[in-house]
């Protein structure tokens, strides 16, 4: 009897270790990958398509002003990037060759500010950083997200994927359970999307404002009753990278309109 109790206790302990709890990594078939756009109502799709009515362009316009403005004697972004930054957003997040750190578009813009413009980095989710990021990403609109996994970024991709697969929060849900296993089904009034970040920074009707992908990730974490990570957290940047590899081939839609 004692032996049976012991072995069942060991089994329970084994089932509780993170390794045993890790779900299988599933992927959406390449011909099934769909942008969040496909899960919107036709009215919201029209709002995104109309380059005048899309409210995200209010931030893109402001980003264009920032891009060409010289502030406090430091050169404007446009003085170096005179031909614009078409296609830049398709390659981010990217490992910085100097520091080895993973940088998303926001991080790269702030690095430019510090190194070349002698300016303070903008706080995450500030109006300036959102506007300039939306402006830069918008220049890649219609281009495919194009991040290949190689030896430099593989550790970050794996880190992001681990976060995506790990069950968390009081609801004990992983990102994968909704966005890979159950996309297309109804979650209360909404259709579950595949969870791609190709439209960010995006204007969300719920926010009545533009917001970064990290704000969206924080909403998802809060939604499963988990503690969200801070804005710009390295783990979120790794998730952003994993999501970009997962969404490879989807067109950038910034500034997208989402629910």
């Amino acid at each position: 009897m004692m032996r049976i109790l012991w072995s069942s206790a060991l089994l329970v302990a084994a089932a509780c270790t993170p390794e045993a709890n890790r779900p299988e990594h599933l992927e959406i078939a390449p011909d099934q990958i769909q942008s969040g756009y496909a899960f919107l109502t036709s009215e919201t799709q029209q709002l995104q398509e109309d380059s005048f009515e899309n409210p995200g362009y209010l931030w893109v316009d402001r980003g264009a002003q920032i891009f060409t403005a010289e502030t406090d004697g430091s050169p404007a972004c446009a003085s170096c990037h005179s031909n614009g930054l078409e296609g830049a957003a398709t390659n981010y997040p990217k490992v910085d060759p100097g520091t080895g750190a993973l940088l998303n578009l926001e991080g790269r813009i702030n690095q430019c500010r510090v190194e070349h413009q002698n300016a303070e980095p903008w706080p995450y989710e500030s109006d300036e950083l959102l506007s300039i990021t939306a402006y830069v990403a918008e220049q890649s609109k219609g281009m495919a997200m194009n991040i290949a996994v190689d030896d430099t970024n593989r550790p970050y991709v794996n880190q992001g994927r681990d976060y995506f697969l790990t069950r968390r929060g009081q609801f004990n849900l992983s990102c994968q359970q909704c966005h890979t296993e159950n996309w297309g089904k109804q979650l209360r009034g909404d259709t579950i999307s595949q969870g791609h970040g190709n439209g960010f920074p995006a204007y969300r009707l719920e926010w009545q404002s533009i917001g970064s992908l990290h704000r969206r990730l924080r909403d998802c974490d809060t939604g499963v009753r988990a503690e969200p990570l801070p804005y710009g957290d390295p783990t979120y940047i790794a998730v952003e990278l994993y999501l970009a590899t997962r969404a490879r081939g989807l067109e950038i839609e910034t500034p997208a309109v989402r629910r």
């Binding site: 409210p55 316009d61 009545q208």
Partner: protein
């Protein structure tokens, strides 16, 4: 900080009905919402929108708390004369934002 986007056709034939669109960046905070700590978020809304052509009113609208943030107004106008359209938004504290666009009527 406030951004304004206007869509006005550059030219129109006399008597033609043209579509005018105006978008402004504004939170349109209704005053009915509460923050995460239960505190009331103060009302902050635009209360009046007006559009003039050469000083004569062509379109006006009163705004109320149920209007979404970043309000978009679309209206139609019969093109009668060339000139400058002035768009003016006034908020509850009488702060005014405005922009202009010109239209040539042939």
């Amino acid at each position: 900080m406030t951004g304004i986007r206007l869509s006005v056709p550059e030219t129109a034939t006399r008597g033609e009905v043209v579509e005018i669109k105006a978008l402004i960046r504004h939170p349109m905070e209704s005053g009915f919402r509460r923050g995460s700590r239960g505190e009331v978020i103060e009302r902050d809304i635009i209360t009046r929108f007006e559009c003039d052509l050469n000083g004569a009113l062509v379109f006006a609208s009163d705004f109320h708390p149920a209007i979404a943030a970043n309000p978009l107004i679309t209206f139609h106008m019969r093109a009668t004369e060339s000139g400058e359209l002035t768009f003016r938004w006034t908020d509850q504290n009488a702060e005014v934002w405005s922009d202009t666009a010109s239209i040539t009527v042939a």
